[in-house]
Each structure stands twice: as C-alpha cells, then as structure tokens.
C-alpha cells in the first residue's frame, strides 16, 4: 500500500472521529470521578445500552434525531436510578465499594440486553440523512464520521458552557467529595451527585448511540470499551475534562494510524501509550501531580 499524504490525512480524520467517541466516554467517566470519586466500572455497559436503545428508537420512530435525543435521556435515567438506590448507600464506606458495585451492575446490564435483544445483537446502519461521503479535498470521507466529530464538538461546547457559565456548573466544578463547598452554597449535595452521575451516564449512552452505526451492536461491545476508556483517562488525567478531550483524540489517532501501518498491533498500541504515560507522567497530561499519582 502506498502511504500517500492524502491517505495519511484521511486516516488522521478517521482517528479523530474515533477519538471523538473516546473523548465523550472519558468525559463521562471523568465527570463522575471528579465529583463523586467513583470510577464507574459499568461505563462500557452504559455505552452498550446506549447503542441498543439508540438502534431501537431509530427502528421505532424512523427518526435518527429523536433517537439521538431520547437515548441519552433513557440511559441517564438508568444512571439516576443506579446512583440513587445502588451507589448512594455506599458513600460512607471505603472508596472501592461504589466501584465494585458498578462492576456487578455492568454484568447485569449485559445480561439484560441479551434478554431484551438476543445474544447476537442487532444490526445497525448509518441513518439515511447522513449516508454517503464528503470530499475533504484530500479524499472522500464518510459523512457520518464527520458528523460524529461535529456532534462531539457540540457536546463538549455545551458542557463547557454549562460548567463555566451556569450556577449549577459552578457547583459541579467547585464540588468535592466532602460536599463542604456545596453546603456553604446552600445546595443539596446528594442532588448534585445524583445529577452528575445521571449526566455522566447519559453522555456514555450518547456515545453509544453515536457509535452504533460504526460498529457491531451486541451485548459484549462495551467490554473492550471500558478498558479503552480507562486508557484515555489515564493518559489525559482523571477528573480533567480538557484532558479527556485531548487524550481521547490522541488515543483515537494513535489507534487509527497504527491500524494503517501495523494493523495487528492497533489495540495494543493504545495500551502501550498508556504504559509510557504511566512511566513518564503518572498523573496524565492534565492531571494534578501528587493528587492521584
């Protein structure tokens, strides 16, 4: 294969599209961790549920935009229930317990999808409005993947506006596990944590419905995704939203470029990247030294 500049450029954009999904996943994880100090081991499962729910709504309504809006709401609702009844009772105990609980939850969610949709999974295709390719100048690129990049950018922008410009966002940014600052601001800490968990899982669900047309939708699809989200958060720095975005894009690009030159090692390459970051800068690119590393 000839590695022309346009081929490389196309692969780069492919990497960015893949990275967009990673960035969304990492953002959801980091939000939940930053606010609740909980690592959501069901994150890959929520992603998977989002994909299934998205395909389901698309099938039922025939409208991709409906499904794009409804899916995060549904997945976020599952997240709200999870936090309220399963995670909340565990805050008083050691930091490992919510993690352990979400791990068990992941198994239940996987099986639930098998029951609801079958063990083979469901077929997923690109929505009609977004089929076809776009000429980027250096080559033709699938319209849907371009859409992915823009959709993610929109979500990131929206999240940034929420965090920086709204009162609620201020509370989320300022909040710590103690909830001291929240109490001073006269805010119900429990409600904030509930919302953040809901938002984090909703974003995971959104990344699932967005990713569905690009991959096989089956109950196991979230299993490797969990590990990959961890790679992104380690590289970017846990609890850092800019880190999640930058690292997500970087990981996506590394995966895509390695797929081009040494396809057998693509999955491995991103984990090796993580190992290198651990050696050189354990807190991640944007993480705070000493806090977690």
């Amino acid at each position: 294969m000839e590695f022309t500049p346009s081929l490389l450029a196309l692969q780069l954009v492919t990497g960015i599209a893949l990275g967009a999904i990673y960035a969304l996943l990492a953002i959801g994880l980091s939000l939940i961790f930053g606010m609740l100090t909980v690592v959501n081991f069901a994150h890959g499962a929520f992603f998977m549920v989002g994909a299934f729910v998205g395909v389901y709504f698309l099938g039922v309504t025939g409208n991709f935009w409906f499904s794009l809006v409804l899916t995060p709401l549904v997945v976020g609702a599952i997240g709200l229930v999870t936090e309220r009844f399963l995670v909340r009772p565990l805050y008083g105990r050691g930091i490992d317990y919510p993690l352990l609980l979400t791990f068990g939850l992941g198994w239940v969610l996987i099986e639930a999808m098998r029951v609801l949709f079958g063990i083979e999974g469901v077929p997923s295709s690109t929505p009609a409005a977004l089929r076809g390719s776009v000429d980027l100048g250096f080559g033709y690129f699938p319209k849907y993947r371009l859409f992915l990049i823009f959709a993610t950018a929109l979500v990131v922008l929206g999240l940034w506006l929420f965090l920086e410009k709204t009162r609620y966002g201020l509370i989320v940014r300022a909040g710590s596990r103690d909830g001291e600052i929240c109490k001073v601001l006269g805010v119900d800490v429990a409600r904030v944590w509930l919302m953040v968990f809901g938002i984090g899982t909703a974003i995971a669900g959104l990344s699932g419905v967005l990713a569905a047309p690009t991959r096989a939708v089956n109950p196991e699809m979230g299993i490797p995704v969990l590990a990959e989200s961890f790679v992104v958060t380690v590289v970017g720095g846990m609890g850092s939203l800019p880190g999640a975005v930058v690292a997500g894009l970087l990981v996506g690009v590394v995966f895509a470029m390695t797929s081009l030159f040494a396809p057998a090692y693509a999955e491995l390459s991103i984990f090796v990247l993580m190992a290198v970051v651990l050696l050189v800068r354990p807190q991640g690119f944007f993480g705070k030294a000493g806090l977690l590393g």
Binding site: G104, L105, W107, F271
Partner: protein, 318 residues
C-alpha cells in the same frame, strides 16, 4: 463452641488443610472440587493484595493466565516436564507482577484499579496475537500430563481423585506460606500500610516497595493457580487473561470475605457451586452473579466467612 473456634483460629492452616483433605469426599463431583482448589488459591493470592494490603487490582487474570500459558507453552512447545514447566509458570507470573506492579503502584487509590485492568489487557492482547505460541483465539491445547512420578511412585494424574490430591499438595504449600507471611513482621507492615499509608511512611516503612513486594508474591500465587489449572484442563483458554476473569477473583473474594484467611476459599466454593447450579436452570448466569455480587456489596460486604467470623469474634469477646 468457643474453645473450638479459638483452636481453629490458632491453627488455621491445619484446619483449612484438614477440610480440604476430605473435601473430595463431600463434593458431588470431582471436577468441581478441583476447580474450587485452583480458584480458591487464585482468590487467596488476590486477597493478599486486596483484603490484606487494601489494593484493588482488576488485572490479576494476567497472573493466572501467564502462569497457565507459560506452563503450557513450556510443555507443548518446549517438551519440558510438568514440574519445571510449573516452576516457569510461577516465576513468569511473578515477573509479570513485578512489571505491572511497578507501573501500577505509581498511581493511587481508585486510579490503581483502572490501571491494573488496562495493563492486564496488554498481556491479553499480546497473548492473543502470538498465535504461534499461544493458539490465539482458540487457546493453547495439548498439555499432556498422564502421570506424575513422585519418589518412584507413579500416580495416575488422569484419575480425578489422584489429581485432586496432587494439586492439593501444591495448594497446601501455598496456603502454609501465606499463613507464615501474614504472621511475619512483613505481615504487620502490610497491615499498617493498609490501615494508614501516611502513618506507615512516617514510621519509616517504604510504602511503595512494600506494595510491590506484596504484588509480586500475590502474582506468584495466582501464577501457581494458573499453572495448576493448565495441568488440570490440558488447555489454556484465552479468556483466562481477560479482565472478566480478574473480576471473578474480586467477586470470589468479596463473597467469601476479604481480609480473612479462609474467606477467599469459601468465596470460590460458593461462586463455582452457584455457577454450576444456576447454569442448569438458566442461561442468564451473568445477571444472577452480578446481582448476587451487588447484593453482597450493599448488604454483606464482609462476605459469608467474614460475617461469620465477625459474629464469632463478638461472641468470644462478650
């Protein structure tokens, strides 16, 4: 009752071994008993790091798998005898523990769980890709151990009961070692690190090095479990290395009782028996085990054995 409990506590290794000695006679079928031995050891090895040192690793499948694969590879591709292959398996797992541990210990708390999972996935992918050596997706096959020669005696390894007792010897040695370690000065250091790292450092203990040493020992024990598993199954499935397998160790430990000597064994026994029973009734095993696990996390975090011990301790002190 109290006197019996006190006696068991003081001679916990002997008590456990006595139970395991008669175990095959109690079990409906031997494959389950052997599995309980092997995974009991896996859980005990994991528990050393999780229950006793307070480090929640989600990557311990790497050590189980490395132990299995290296033992299998040495025998299938190298023609080694089972004894040397097993030694290689254990040593390799310890080495993997050193590397992964070194990288993971640079992180703290919850971060550690994420990192161990991801690092162990590296091992998974490496072994998955190295098809020539590992059989890739299909796993490693053809590990033949027809007989075990000991002091001139030729034991038929294919007979389940004999197999159980051969494996039992290794597990017994490992349990004895773990018991000694926990009762040693190093065992006290482990406890201190678990209780309060900052304080342990202020007392003069190198926390990072302590953790690393426990990591390596834990990995070696899990590697032994893996090596024994390879000899038992004659194959090494690729899933041995996946983080879902690591998750099983976590579940067994919590179900049984982390931070107790016998808990992990109880956890392994319950987990495997449950799996056996449930899969005959429904194929939705993952949901059942996930649900049971969540139930324990919420309501019985001390686990079955752990809760029992707590009740006994309270009764004894009253």
């Amino acid at each position: 009752m109290r006197a019996v409990y006190e006696a068991i506590r003081r001679h916990r290794v002997a008590a456990v071994l006595a139970l395991l000695l008669v175990f095959p006679l109690l079990m409906p079928y031997h494959a389950l008993a052997i599995n309980i031995l092997i995974f009991g050891l896996f859980a005990v090895g994991f528990n050393l790091l999780f229950g006793y040192t307070g480090l929640l690793s989600f990557g311990h499948a790497a050590f189980l798998g490395v132990g299995s694969y290296l033992t299998g590879i040495a025998m299938v591709h190298g023609g080694w005898s089972w004894w040397w292959a097993l030694a290689l398996g254990v040593a390799s797992a310890a080495l993997a523990g050193l590397v992964i541990g070194y990288l993971a210990i640079r992180t703290r708390g919850i971060y550690f769980s994420m990192v161990t999972l991801a690092l162990a996935q590296i091992v998974y992918y490496v072994f998955y890709k190295a098809e020539r050596w590992t059989g890739g997706e299909n796993g490693l096959r053809g590990i033949q151990v027809p007989a075990v020669e000991v002091m001139g005696l030729r034991l038929d390894f294919l007979d389940p009961v004999t197999k159980y007792y051969v494996i039992f010897v290794f597990v017994a040695a490992a349990l004895w070692f773990v018991s000694r370690l926990l009762a040693s000065p190093f065992g006290a250091v482990i406890e201190a690190v678990r209780e309060n790292e900052k304080r342990a450092a202020a007392c003069g203990y190198d926390v990072a090095r302590t953790k690393l040493l426990v990591f390596v020992v834990s990995a070696a024990l899990c590697g032994l479990a893996g090596a024994l598993r390879a000899l038992h199954l004659s194959v090494v499935p690729i899933d041995s290395l996946h983080y879902l397998q690591s998750g099983q160790a976590v579940m067994m430990c919590l179900l049984g009782g982390m931070g107790t000597f016998f808990g992990p064994f109880v956890g392994a026994a319950v987990f495997l028996t449950l799996e056996d029973v449930v899969t005959t009734v429904t194929k939705h095993w993952m949901a059942v085990v996930g649900g049971v696990f969540m139930f324990f996390v919420l309501f019985f975090p001390a686990g079955i054995w752990g809760t029992f011990i707590k009740r006994m301790e309270r009764a004894v002190r009253a």
